[in-house]
């Protein structure tokens, strides 16, 4: 089984070479048969990669230590779920997951691309094949998970304990679906550049792919943030860690792409810019892969370090980013510009959004790469942390967030700002009220905190106003209003939910950062402590034994108003003997939208324990907002306008009728 997986991987590499070259020649020579090769090869390549991945996963599940990769990253005592997730909890396995998703998307294009022009489809598959070939080669040459050990050791070296968590089952797959999803947008862009023309169906195809990738990336980042929050035991949800930035940059660029693709799809404008953004977004995904996988960073994700790999990925990076940008420089002038619009219009608003988002991306890029450059040229190691980003990123984002509610309400081609402002009066009033109430009635609220709350309320109500206005609230009778609301295109709901989610996330961040409290103290069993109106009693420290770890579990009781316990929180420190590592399992209790967070520190000689408590108001909204954004993207995907039929003779005749209103 194991060697079958290995062989399937090699075979998939061979097919990816065919997928790169044959359809490309087919498109050049206008040869139908050569172009037709792309589809079946992409599907077969995906099937083989899936077989290979399944072989590796089953080797992990059955603790087959004759694979060096399994031996290094697994242990027979791990629970089955962590044995399986351990498949991608290491460098080699995660790269295999990467290409699995890449070939999966390629297969989707092949399977559902029948309504694409044949040459575009062939070129897209060829570019997708080229990316696949590069990464297959990378895996086979430097990171082969199928290297065998003979004789096989009897016991493995265990998975990094930090990764022995359900988060590993969700976070990397979601993140990779996002990263790699943008490869399709990239392939479409490069294919358009190769052809020297942008088909009208181009944007119709790129937008849903951007949506899919963006949806998964949003989920992946939110999940990663929550995982770091509860697993690392520092109570933070975002550290501006370079690895986090690596996933955040494609998200920012992808968000810009999502918006510019709307303009292109609806109005055939901003073609060249959208193309460039698609290339840049995937380039940032590749850069993220490089940063994480090459080991140039030392951070909490310190599970991959090997210089030869770094150089290899750098070559891939140069080849694809450099190649696509060079192609862009050569061909962009041949592409025709599209529809016209007035600066104040929906299109104009989306351009503004793009300006802010790309600037923000550049800021994060500088903040991430600058320390590396300093280290490379002067041997000094500096770190650019939260202060830099608070000073640069936050001021960039604030004005963008202020104008967000205007966007969806502006009309296409030529908008009316005053009219939109009138419609937003209610939301504005409520936001102002929220700001004042926060500033006046909450102790310790700074001006910034109050403004932050106001901004969040503005975003949330602005998104709802969009729905209300389009449903005709106030202008029509209730039954008509309901009918209009139900009849709105799904993409309108998608926009509203995505913006609403953004508002919720902002509210969560402001709430946690500005109104959270923290206590660090040494506690004996039986003592109580009060934090932000909640009383917590420390019951005691109890040793326990897990399958592959031992732990000291600290039990805490939440005392209610009546003085009797209303709930239990337990926080633990685990020791994993195989890796000689300690992890913290923070105790978290969700109270409405807020959380009480407890993490254990060192034990004192007199039996006391250092306990850190945090009260994190509205913290769940940070990730809840992410889920709402994902839901928005999902709704937008269901919009019927994204389904473009393939041309047929009968339909062509109806075009003339359709063009007459």
């Amino acid at each position: 089984m194991v060697e079958t997986g290995h062989f399937a991987l090699v075979l998939a590499f061979a097919l990816s070479l065919v997928q790169t070259i044959v359809p490309l020649f087919g498109a050049r020579l206008s040869n139908q048969r050569l172009m037709a090769v792309g589809g079946p090869v992409a599907v077969t390549g995906f099937a083989l990669t899936a077989l290979s991945f399944a072989a590796l996963a089953s080797a992990y599940a059955s603790s087959d230590f004759s694979l060096a990769n399994v031996w290094e990253n697994s242990h027979s005592l791990q629970p089955l779920i962590y044995k399986i997730t351990g498949t991608w909890g290491n460098h080699e396995g995660s790269m295999l997951l990467w290409v699995l998703i890449l070939t999966f998307f390629g297969a989707l294009v092949a399977a559902f691309g029948s309504n694409l022009p044949a040459t575009l489809r062939a070129n897209v598959l060829a570019v997708q094949g080229a990316i696949g070939a590069a990464f297959f080669l990378f895996i086979l040459a430097t990171s082969n998970p199928f290297i065998r050990l003979n004789p096989a050791p009897i016991e493995g070296r265990d998975l990094n304990p930090i990764l022995q968590d359900l988060g590993l089952a969700i976070h990397p797959p979601l993140l990779y679906l996002g990263y790699v999803g943008f490869s399709i947008c990239f392939s479409f862009s490069v294919a358009a550049l190769i052809e020297g023309r942008i088909d009208a169906s181009w944007a119709r195809w790129v937008r849903p792919w951007t949506l899919v990738a963006w949806m998964f990336l949003t989920g992946g980042i939110a999940m990663g943030s929550y995982w770091a929050y509860y697993e690392l035991g520092w109570g933070g949800f975002w550290f501006w860690d370079p690895v986090e930035n690596a996933s955040f940059m494609p998200w920012l660029a992808g968000t810009a792409l999502l918006h510019s693709a709307i303009v292109m799809e609806k109005r055939s404008a901003l073609k060249i810019w959208t193309l460039l953004l698609a290339i840049l977004t995937f380039s940032l995904s590749l850069l993220g892969t490089f940063l994480v996988r090459s080991g140039v960073l030392t951070s909490v994700h310190a599970f991959a370090t090997d210089p030869t790999r770094g150089v290899f990925i750098l070559c891939i990076l140069t080849l694809f980013i450099g190649g696509s940008l060079a192609l862009f420089a050569l061909r962009a002038s041949r592409l025709t510009a599209g529809g016209l619009f007035h600066p104040v219009s929906r299109e104009g608003a989306l351009v503004l959004n793009n300006l802010f988002l790309t600037t923000a991306t550049a800021t994060v890029l500088v903040g991430t790469l600058y320390p590396l450059a300093v280290e490379a040229f002067s041997a000094d190691k500096i770190s650019v942390g939260a202060p830099f980003f608070n000073l640069t990123f936050a001021p960039l984002m604030a004005p963008l967030l202020v104008v967000v509610p205007f966007g969806p309400l502006l009309a296409w081609k030529r908008g009316d700002v005053l009219g939109v402002a009138q419609r937003l009066m209610v939301a504005f009033g409520a936001a102002l009220l929220a700001t004042l109430v926060t500033a006046l009635f909450i102790d310790g609220a700074s001006v910034l905190a109050a403004l932050g709350v106001g901004l969040a309320v503005w975003l949330i109500l602005g998104a709802l106003t969009d729905l209300a206005v389009k449903a005709g609230v106030g202008n029509v009778a209730v039954p008509v209003m309901v009918r209009r609301l139900v009849g709105l295109p799904r993409s309108v709901f998608g926009t509203a939910f995505a913006h609403l989610g953004l508002g919720l996330t902002v509210l969560g961040i402001v709430g946690t950062l500005c109104f959270g409290t923290e206590k660090i103290l040494s506690m004996h069993a039986g003592e109580t402590v009060e934090i932000s109106g909640h009383t917590v009693r420390f019951v005691g420290l109890y040793p326990a034994q897990g399958p592959n770890y031992s732990e000291d579990r600290g039990r805490f009781e939440l005392i209610g108003v009546s003085g009797s316990p209303v709930g239990e929180i337990s926080s633990a420190k685990r020791f994993y003997p195989v890796r000689q590592m300690t992890t913290t399992e923070s105790g978290i209790r969700t109270i409405f939208l807020s959380q009480l967070y407890i993490s254990l520190g060192d034990e004192g000689k007199d039996g006391s324990v250092v306990v850190r408590l945090w009260w994190k108001p509205l913290v769940t909204l940070i990730w809840g907002g992410g889920l709402v954004m994902m839901a928005g993207a999902a709704m937008s995907l269901m919009d019927r306008r994204l389904r473009v039929g393939a041309p047929s003779r009968r339909r062509k005749q109806t075009v003339a009728d359709a063009s007459q209103p």
């Binding site: 290995h6 062989f7 044959v22 037709a36 044949a118 096989a152 009309a411 030529r414 063009s659």
Partner: protein
């Protein structure tokens, strides 16, 4: 054999995926302008929907409609121009097709023969532990015993049997746990206490710590003639720098030992080390002799560190010349750890594993040993 059949079927399937479309008929595909037309038609319909909902004003909608109509017109022109492009050069196409069909089996079998291990079967742990014990390696037997004890953790005899095996395999932390379990379940005995002490000392890199001394003392209380306990307690004295007391203790033990005791050799060696001067060339591999240690204790801290470094470097050099010395490697790794040079310790560990080959008995022992002295393996 089965593997080759599967590989052949997979190759056949992959080749067919390339071959079939090439052999298939040309299905008079639609031109790209047909596709564009479809999209424009859709855009027009959508424009009407937007206009009906007031998303775009009537004047702008008319303008947009005109824009789309112009694009449709341009499409017609481009179509006329596009039709003139010549048909494919059949020779090139056929060449590309042939190369592609051949590439699949050639690349895959060629590459796999270089990097694959087709003769190695899968070895799931469950299967390995279920096979006949006579065919199993020591590791597999130990793993089987571990599995048994994981299911029946109160089997004191099992722990008692396993503990000395751990000790011999230098899995000291496991040995400590096993001895403790044996003592808890099957009661105290001098042999178990002495074994526990040895395991604790082993885990600490050979240092007879206070915990280990407690265990040895308990063993002596149960059996005053226990040679292992006496030996290590004397060793503790030597490690504390009380060389003369240690020598006296060893000699006293030696006098009491029966003539065929296996501990005679060990004690004589220890006495030789602490007594008369040793052959100089041996110092690097056998560790510092008493004179060196004495000299070290009267030196300034800097000098002492320099001397220790010299000795470690000597051992390092020796191992570069005679690398197949498992004991030597472990001593080197431990020395670096004691000196606080974790990087060099890791480097030495890596070299040691490279000498015996990753996956070998020794390599496993090294890894366990490194883990036992708090060194995480090379990543």
């Amino acid at each position: 054999m089965l593997f080759w059949v599967i590989a052949a079927i997979l190759t056949l399937g992959a080749s067919l995926a390339v071959l079939l479309p090439l052999a298939g008929g040309s299905k008079g595909a639609s031109s790209s302008s047909d596709h564009d037309l479809e999209v424009y038609r859709d855009q027009l319909a959508e424009l009407d929907r937007d206009a009906a909902r007031g998303m775009i004003r009537p004047a702008e909608a008319a303008e947009a409609r005109a824009e789309i109509a112009r694009r449709i017109l341009r499409l017609g022109n481009a179509d006329m121009a596009g039709k003139t492009s010549g048909r494919a050069a059949p020779v090139t196409a056929r060449l590309v097709a042939t190369v592609a069909v051949l590439a699949v089996p050639l690349v895959s079998w060629g590459l796999y023969s270089q990097i694959g291990s087709p003769d190695l079967p899968s070895q799931p742990l469950g299967e390995r532990l279920a096979k006949n014990p006579a065919d199993s390696s020591v590791d597999e037997l130990v793993a089987r015993a571990e599995a048994h004890l994981a299911a029946n953790p109160s089997d004191g005899r099992g722990w008692d049997v396993l503990a000395p095996v751990y000790l011999r395999m230098q899995r000291f932390a496991d040995a400590v746990a096993a001895y403790r379990n044996a003592i808890r379940l099957d009661g105290d005995s001098a042999a178990r206490r002495a074994g526990l002490g040895e395991a604790i000392a082993g885990a600490a890199g050979g240092i007879v710590s206070a915990d280990a001394q407690d265990a040895f003392e308990a063993a002596l209380k149960l059996d005053p003639a226990n040679a292992k306990a006496s030996f290590y307690l004397a060793m503790a004295l030597a490690q504390e720098g009380r060389g003369q007391e240690a020598t006296a203790a060893w000699q006293a033990t030696l006098a009491k030992l029966p003539p065929d005791s296996p501990w005679r050799g060990a004690i004589e060696q220890a006495l030789a080390k602490s007594g008369g001067p040793e052959v100089a060339s041996d110092a690097a591999t056998k560790g510092p002799d008493a004179a060196d240690v004495d000299a070290a204790s009267s030196m300034s801290p800097q000098d002492r560190e320099a001397m220790i470094n010299t000795m470690v470097a000597g051992l390092d050099d020796k191992l570069r010349q005679n690398p197949r010395d498992a004991e030597g490697w472990m001593r080197l790794v431990r020395s670096y750890v004691v000196l606080g040079k974790a990087d060099q310790a890791r480097d030495a560990l890596g070299r040691a594993i490279a000498v015996f080959g990753p996956g070998s008995e020794e390599a496993k022992k090294f890894t366990a040993f490194a883990a036992s002295i708090g060194l995480t393996a090379t990543e």
